[in-house]
Amino acid sequence: MPLVYCGACSHAPGITGRAERADTQTRQALETAFRRMGDEMRATRPDALVVIAAEHFANFFMNNMPAFAIGMADSYEGPIEDEAFLRIRRTTVPGNKALSRRLIETVMQTVDVAYAEEWKFDHGISVPLHFLTPDYDLPIVPANINCQGPPLAPLARAWAFGEALRRAVDAVPERIALIGTGGLSHWPATPDSGKINHEWDREFLRRWSANDREALLSYTDAEIYREAGQGGFEIRTFIAAAAAAGGATGRIDFCEPVPIFAVSCTLGSFELPPAQQNTPSS
């Protein structure tokens, strides 16, 4: 049935791993906003949550780097990082292999996604879940867009991936929620970690909230790299979520630059028509 929830959020490892080094007020406001997003998402009574992530060499390496991937297992483990580094306890997260397979088969009609029968979550998924589904009681369908190792798929294909996921979600009987998760401008794990182009982020989010496909796809990777750093390549996850929202406009629930977390911490969601939230598809 039609998608019941569609949003996007940050996943920077500092949000949990270096939590106490941020300004207390900012940090509390961020965590509150994250929990509110989780409440809203779970209030739509999803049977599963699709997470469009941008992982960081936990599963995919240049020996076989898929542009797009979807997990297809009944459970996943995470986080892969040192628990003390990320301050999130390693755990087993439920999946749904049969549902994954049905989604993958539809996505494959238009987007050439790799499937993965195992998947170790890194902070890219574990940080969002820590706040959004703290009890790890909602089955996850992990999806990935390569934002780390060029050559990267063009933004238009990230859009196509979001559209394909939406078609796939709409075609299954389950109630599905979806989030994209990535950073906007940032230079993570470099000497410039903490640098943020907040103006650029605001303009990106303006286009994103308006779900302005043309404006979102008009960035080039050279421009992203110059203005938003190699971390900015992760906007692909936000773009895919916008495509999955099928033209709905978005709302920014939080957006604050937090240098010690290395990004503008961002939470947003799309205003899906109420009919899509409550009635079964025809």
Binding site: F57, I80, P191, K195
Partner: protein, 117 residues
């Protein structure tokens, strides 16, 4: 030209407890499994985080390799900066440094902006 091999070794170390154990027990044997230059072997074995950074190792790999050697976050950032001074700019990949005022100065500026809002 063997940056791929350096990164592959670090990827395996980050991901695979068995490789980490072997690396602790018989580092040279593990290094011997990869097609590395002497410069790369030296940088990995020391470890010279600054040189690995300049060689082009992706930060998302390098930060965990640093953590494996119990190098704390702030120290990790500092070692990359030292690497740039010692060996010059990043030679490959997309993790080049571009210049930054630093987290403290940035934080202070944001705080000032918030107060004048």
């Amino acid at each position: 030209m063997s940056l791929y091999q350096v990164q592959k070794l670090i990827y395996q170390l980050n991901r695979d407890p068995r490789t980490r154990q072997r690396y602790a027990d018989e580092r040279d044997a593990v290094l011997g499994d990869y097609d590395l230059t002497q410069e790369e072997i030296g940088a990995l074995a020391k470890p010279d985080i600054g040189l690995l950074y300049v060689l082009g190792v992706n930060g998302q790999l390098l930060m965990h390799f640093a953590a494996l050697h119990r190098i704390e976050w702030t120290d990790y950032l500092e070692r990359m900066r030292q690497g740039l001074k010692e060996y010059g700019p990043v030679r490959e990949g997309v993790y080049a440094a571009t210049g930054y005022e630093g987290v403290e100065a940035h934080d202070a500026r944001l705080k000032a902006e918030r107060e004048t809002r």
